[in-house]
Symmetry: C2
Subunit: 453 residues, 2 copies
Amino acid sequence: MADYAPVRGCIVVKPYGWSLYENMRDQLDRRFKDTGHSNAAFPMFIPMSFLQKEAQHVKGFSPELAVVTVGGGEQLEEPLAIRPTSETIIGYMYAQWIKSYRDLPILINSWNSVVRWEKRTRPFLRTTEFYWQEGHTAHATHEDSTAEVMRMLDVYADHAVQECAVPVIRGRKSLSERFAGAEITYSIEAMMGDKKALQSATSHDLGQNFARAFDIKFLDRDNTEKLCWTTSWGMSWRMLGAVIMVHGDDHGLRLPPKIAPIQVIVVPIFKNDSEKSSVMDTADRIFHIMKTAGLRVKLDSRDETPGYKFNDWEMRGVPLRIEVGPKDVANKTVAVARRDIPGKAGKSFIPQESIALRVPGLLDDIQAGLLAQATAFRDANIHEVNTYDEFKSAVEDGFALAPLVDDPAVDAKIQEETKATNRCFPLHQAEGEWECIITGQKVHERALFGKAY
Amino acid sequence: MADYAPVRGCIVVKPYGWSLYENMRDQLDRRFKDTGHSNAAFPMFIPMSFLQKEAQHVKGFSPELAVVTVGGGEQLEEPLAIRPTSETIIGYMYAQWIKSYRDLPILINSWNSVVRWEKRTRPFLRTTEFYWQEGHTAHATHEDSTAEVMRMLDVYADHAVQECAVPVIRGRKSLSERFAGAEITYSIEAMMGDKKALQSATSHDLGQNFARAFDIKFLDRDNTEKLCWTTSWGMSWRMLGAVIMVHGDDHGLRLPPKIAPIQVIVVPIFKNDSEKSSVMDTADRIFHIMKTAGLRVKLDSRDETPGYKFNDWEMRGVPLRIEVGPKDVANKTVAVARRDIPGKAGKSFIPQESIALRVPGLLDDIQAGLLAQATAFRDANIHEVNTYDEFKSAVEDGFALAPLVDDPAVDAKIQEETKATNRCFPLHQAEGEWECIITGQKVHERALFGKAY
């Protein structure tokens, strides 16, 4: 999938990994376009003075910047940051483009890479440079911008669940975890196979903070000049990390069919040349039937043993393996093996003539199977707690859902004492009144905590 | 399409322009995949020491680098260049990945942006940061790498001609115009509407230069270790500039249907509310018929006059306009206007019932019409010359095709005296023997010269 690059904290994504990323990108992009967004491209360079215009923003991102000080052999008058995110430069452009309420809403997304000089890095989860998309919208009213923030949170959740088979919890970030410059940050949170937490995407209500800093104004219907309400939202290749870590098992990757670079691998099995000819003919025919059906299929005709090939494609997470041997040729059947169900339970024989009919349904079953497994695992490892003692043991073995005040000092104390961080206040949770496990104050919502990477 | 960014030499590509770029990218990407290539992602950062490993390469690119010297608030031990092109870092990775002849060929492409600190910039044609793709391949033999270099030159030419309707000339770059580090550089060259020349893509035979510099070796079938043969090839958003400048006229853009963001615009025409209802019904039906046929179509229901809309969509280069007025409703027809043929000659009426049948054919005609116009214009402005005097007047009004030695000193002299540059030695040209217009030496090929931007 990926390899370490010879640059601090950077990775190279190899063709198989990039193909997976492209499949995820294309499906997310389709969702963006279906909700009225267009793509555009903005420069990677941001003048340092831009970052300083929004006070919280510069405070949040300054320590992580990569800065270009030399261009064309000469010292630059004003150093340029490589974008850690593009609110500032896009805000500057929006101020030029937006004149009237007729220009609103403006709904733009950009696929690019950004740079954050992180202290600890980890492939896909936290890399110095990472690929992502960042959406930036401007609206006439807070009602409109709020609707956009929630719409995009839903788009992310739907993509994660439906296409990546990764169950996620939608929530509001605590004050201490808010995006630098946002009024409210929402996120989707997932549990990995090691029971750690991963923030998988964020959607920010920026209020009028960036509109004020960059003078993004419009003439409203009532002929008065008003500040816009803006949002931003992003999902990175970290989601690819989530797919790897949620579904992987001891034999390697397990990829959901909707995003797998190869959905079906056809492996011919033969002992000698006389078997080879009829087996290869059948395997080739099976391959073409599925290719014609629009599936991402590959015929493995390498000069290796079937066992080697089985292991290889298992490791690569291909959802469905079709084996064609001499008996299958004689019986006009094929053997199919599901990657989501190990061993004999995942194997069956189907008639060759019903391949085109049966394989798409099998892939749907595998997609659903992976989601069901991940959801059951997650739900079994979320513990509802009412005391700090219960909390401490809960976060050693999954997530804790605990009554809590939204206070940065409380988040910090818990993190220091347990290493668990406040993932979010889930949007959908039981109503009730509890006592905060730290302060004892009455609270009406619970927070989700877990250890992160 | 685009706007100036608040960063030296950079542009912002707005949604309409980016949609055009995405259409071009997707079609080129399909061609890459059809010829066996995969996409991957490499870091934007290149350690300065990497660039220094290939002597010609560092000489060529050093003056144009943007350099990051500060990361995370600290001075970096080794400054990092932002990639001006990725031969070096990809060469380093290939050296890790390639062990045996079984690993070859390795055929990878990357879509990204690169930075070159150019003195003079111009939107799309020469910008500090520009989007492009760069292909990098490694092969066991020079025969294989040469075949790849020519294959990709053909892919570019085919994309330019078939999809962008931009006629191009395939040729070998002169020694003075070679890519820094290449053995031979090939390019496709186009003539813009102002008769200037634009290099639209390049394909490089890198010989074993980068393999030697980065130790890219493989164990061959004969059990000896050998250096690989590598290639690289790239096309940038400059091709988008070519589309604008080749086809544009006094009324604005003219976009080829195969890459146009909007292929068909439907404009309803009515004087009052009683007309509006039946006209809008019909226009909406026409819109849905074409949408269902898979065309990129838009219904312009804005509250503006038809004249305003006609001008607006003409300026944006939409290939085909469909007008629906009260008479069309009564006659069960629509009026269609081709963007490639101005005025009455480009207008006709077609029955509503044959829309789905006729419009795709009309779009094909427009695609062919734009290519034919551009080809005729270019061919009328290439002048075959045999003396330097003829040459001098020829390059004032188009391209000159002149017998010439391949000598950097000669290229330099001509450029200084005429401002015209050596575009290429065309691959397909008449055989013959001529006298070089500068040195008088016998030569067996002619060079194409033109003024560039």
